[in-house]
Amino acid sequence: MSNGISTIDALVERKYQHGFVTDIQSDTLPPGLSADVIRGISARKNEPEWLLEWRLKAYAHWLKMQQPDWAHLKIEAIDFQAISYYSAPKLDKDRPQSLDEVDPKLLETYEKLGVPLHERARLAGVAVDAIFDSVSVGTTFKKELRKAGVIFCSFSEAVQEHPELVKKYLGTVVPQRDNFFAALNSAVFTDGSFVFIPKGVRCPMELSTYFRINAAETGQFERTLIIVEEGAYVSYLEGCTAPMRDENQLHAAVVELIALDDASIKYSTVQNWYPGDENGVGGIYNFVTKRGDCRGARSHISWTQVETGSAITWKYPSCILRGDDSRGEFYSVALTNNYQQADTGTKMIHIGRNTRSKIISKGISAGHAQNVYRGLVRMTPRADNARNYTQCDSMLIGKNCGAHTFPYIEVRNPSAKVEHEATTSRIGEDQLFYCLQRGISEEDAVSMIVDGFCKQVFKQLPMEFAVEAKALLEVSLEGAVG
């Protein structure tokens, strides 16, 4: 894995190439949702009949469902008919032709976050060909992965090249009817990632690294499927710390993870979607269904997330601990400032024996924001000797924000053990003054205290992201104290 970074730097210094999105017709469908629109999407992607049927079935379910309103969120009504469900990728001629044409404020943010120079252009959406020539970073990686037997491609590509795998696993962790947004996603998903790690293979690189250089244009309705076979391992990171803008307001992704016997999946997310301005106008709604199925014995799935963006975040990465001795973990830092709202947490469902789950959730609330942890720990009757430990901490900065905790604990087995603890802390005047009196600036003091608060979670991130996540938190909290 040490070859990862230096190789990229060398290559990218010179060149950048399109990502792995397959070529498609470039027209955009008008706004509106109907069975015809779905047929249109499926046709443009050349999908096989069974997948179109699958989409249509989901659509039929969705029509009968109602948008949930039980979350602690104030959401303006979403007009599903006003969304365009298929848009072509931006043509090069419509993009900025160089960094000079990019909004300087955006560049400033990249600077603060420590985003490497060679990435800024891509992130700003600068037309690729204008800057780099045609050596493909993507191709190099693909060769390495192929050697190991790893399949890592876009979801659309997987449908074309590995339909049997997709058919076998799609919807087995998040069924179409699971919830309103999952049903919508199942009907209209555009693209996402597909990962398959065969038996005994330890994926030779952090798949995050690959993504940083070559992410597809992020879609509204992403669909990701990761399958790790017996004894295999993968570490996957999505998102990036740089603020991502998008004309589309609603993002409803579905991520399904499957771990067979002795398999291990580490899934990290750093999310900084546009949160809206200081007055809460605009901003992205991020409604995601993420679930991992520890299908095999001794399997292990770990979710790590740093959420600082979006106007509204609604997601509960969960683990179904089916296999005996399987383990699930959830580490989260969720930061809300200004008028952001987050309702996030996890569900750990213990089915197998001796299963273990660990939940560490850190919520930071500032400005006028609302930050909610919502969790479910369920010990089913067969879950002999299962164990859960949950630590749920909130930090409030200022008088006008809110932090809330709603942990559901349902136990039906007498040998299971559940331990749940929650604390609330604040950055108080006296703490700040103490730091100031020792010569530390207020900004740095806030950073130190917040960093200490989040340490347990940052430790779980792939190293380069831990550093960026720290910087991201600092930037997001600017102006929150005092």
Binding site: W70, K399, G402, Y408, I409, P414, S415, T423, R426
Partner: protein, 442 residues
């Protein structure tokens, strides 16, 4: 609204003209709400884990207003000077020699006037046709049938002493027809600096499948103090639905000790509003269940004024095929700065078919808050069991001692706060007697 609720709604009494207008308007509002929404169902978040099918299965009808006489009553939990019997929700006789400054009347008599603050108190419970605003169907039903009950008023600075309220219902058949639903309302008004101890004993001495729907409203003036002990030991076919609403002014103190030891379906909604500054609410309890029993405790403390203090400390032991539901909530309003709130809930499951659903909630909108909660579900300490066995006590004895000790901590709090070892011991003994046993596997 389901059919059974509709049936019950049809049984609501017509209104008699002899009561004040405001009172009739209140009953009417309750009736309207009940007719619109009926009783809570499992679709309501607050009733998610507790269904009411058993009430329907017993063919429960609204009480028909027949005034029964007390044939037998349970042994009083403790000896007190002031003991009142409530039969079918109706106060039987008043007690003699009330201390000066204490007024005790049946709700009926109290309505004739003379009790300061009674009307305001009764009108506090929001009755609304809007489902989201209404407290819940049982409260609506209670308001719609308002009439039976009791009022205690303690004047400023007076120590009202201790009252034992012994509740029972008239045997109305074990299953099938005859099961009745009785409503009752208790109002406690404590003026500034007043003190009162209320001990409630829910124990009908004969088998019955009745349902009691009781609402207690307590209004604590500045610096007032109310100690509230509740022992529930009803029959496994009987149901007890209660709501205790406490509103607290500055510096007031409310301490609650609830012991749910028997009864088929027991549901308690305890709600404290710390309105004045520096108010204190201390809620503790034990729930022991086995067989097919179902106990649901919902406790909520709202910090509204600044510098309030609240703690919630509950212990549960669940065996058999019983199901315990436990929800503590702390809601800290904007402006309730300096609030300190603690919640602690520990549970032991003893059998494979037992279930516990617990949810410690926290909503914080203020600054300078110290809040924390802990909830655990686990087993008895193996080391401790071995220690006892190595001294000659057998497995069952050892487990019984340890589960009792687990719950005894709540009695200890009572003994300490109320300086009363006798009461704590009496309760502790009862707990020992009904302590659920582990499965052989446990």
């Amino acid at each position: 609204m389901n059919e059974w609720s509709t049936q019950l709604a049809a049984q609501l009494p017509q209104d008699s003209g002899s009561r004040p207008d405001w009172f009739r308007a209140l009953r009417h509002a309750g009736a309207e709400q009940f007719r619109t929404h009926g009783l809570p169902t499992r679709k309501d978040e607050a009733w998610k884990y507790t269904g009411l099918a058993v009430l329907e299965q017993h063919g429960t009808q609204l009480a028909n207003g027949v005034e029964a006489t007390l044939s037998s009553a349970a042994t009083p939990l403790i000896e007190v000077r002031h003991q009142i019997d409530m039969l079918d929700g109706r106060m039987l006789d008043t007690c003699a020699e009330l201390p000066a400054g204490v007024t005790l009347l049946s709700l009926d008599e109290a309505l004739c006037g003379g009790i300061n603050g009674l009307q305001e108190l009764l009108e506090l419970l929001p009755q609304s046709a809007q489902k989201k605003l209404s407290s819940d169907g049982f409260t609506a039903l209670n308001t719609a049938t308002l009439g039976n009950g009791m009022v205690i008023h303690v004047a400023a600075g007076i120590d009202g002493g201790r009252f034992l309220l012994r509740w029972s219902t008239t045997a109305g058949g074990n299953t099938g027809s005859g099961a009745r639903l009785f409503n009752s309302r208790i109002c406690l008004i404590l003026e500034a600096g007043a003190r009162l101890e209320l001990v409630e004993q829910f124990e009908t001495p004969h088998a019955n499948a009745n349902t009691s729907n009781i609402v207690i409203q307590a209004d604590l003036g500045e610096g007032a103090s109310l100690h509230h002990v509740r022992l529930v030991q009803e029959f496994p076919e009987a149901s007890l639905i209660t709501r205790t609403e406490v509103s607290q002014k500055t510096d007031s103190e409310y301490a609650y000790y609830g012991f749910d030891l028997d009864g088929g379906l027991v549901r308690h909604d305890l709600h404290c509003s710390l309105i004045g500054s520096a108010a204190k609410a201390s809620l503790s309890g034990v729930y022991l269940l086995d067989g097919k029993r179902h106990v649901d405790n919902h406790a909520k403390v709202e910090h509204i004024g600044p510098d309030g203090f609240s703690e919630q400390y509950f212990r549960g032991v669940i065996g058999g095929s019983a199901k315990a539901v436990f929800n503590t909530a702390v809601y800290i309003h904007p402006g309730a700065d300096g609030a300190e709130a603690k919640q602690s809930n520990a549970n032991i499951l003893l059998s494979k078919r037992a279930e516990i659903d617990t949810k410690p909630e926290l909503e914080i909108y203020a600054d300078e808050v110290i809040a924390g909660h802990g909830a655990t579900v686990g087993q008895l300490d193996e080391q401790a069991i071995f220690y006892l066995r190595s001294r000659g006590l057998n497995k069952d004895q050892s487990k019984r001692i340890l589960t009792t000790a687990f719950c005894r901590t709540v009695c200890d709090r009572l003994a300490y706060k109320m300086s009363d070892d006798k009461l704590a011991d009496a309760i502790s003994q009862r707990m020992m007697d009904v302590m659920p046993q582990a499965d052989d596997a446990g």
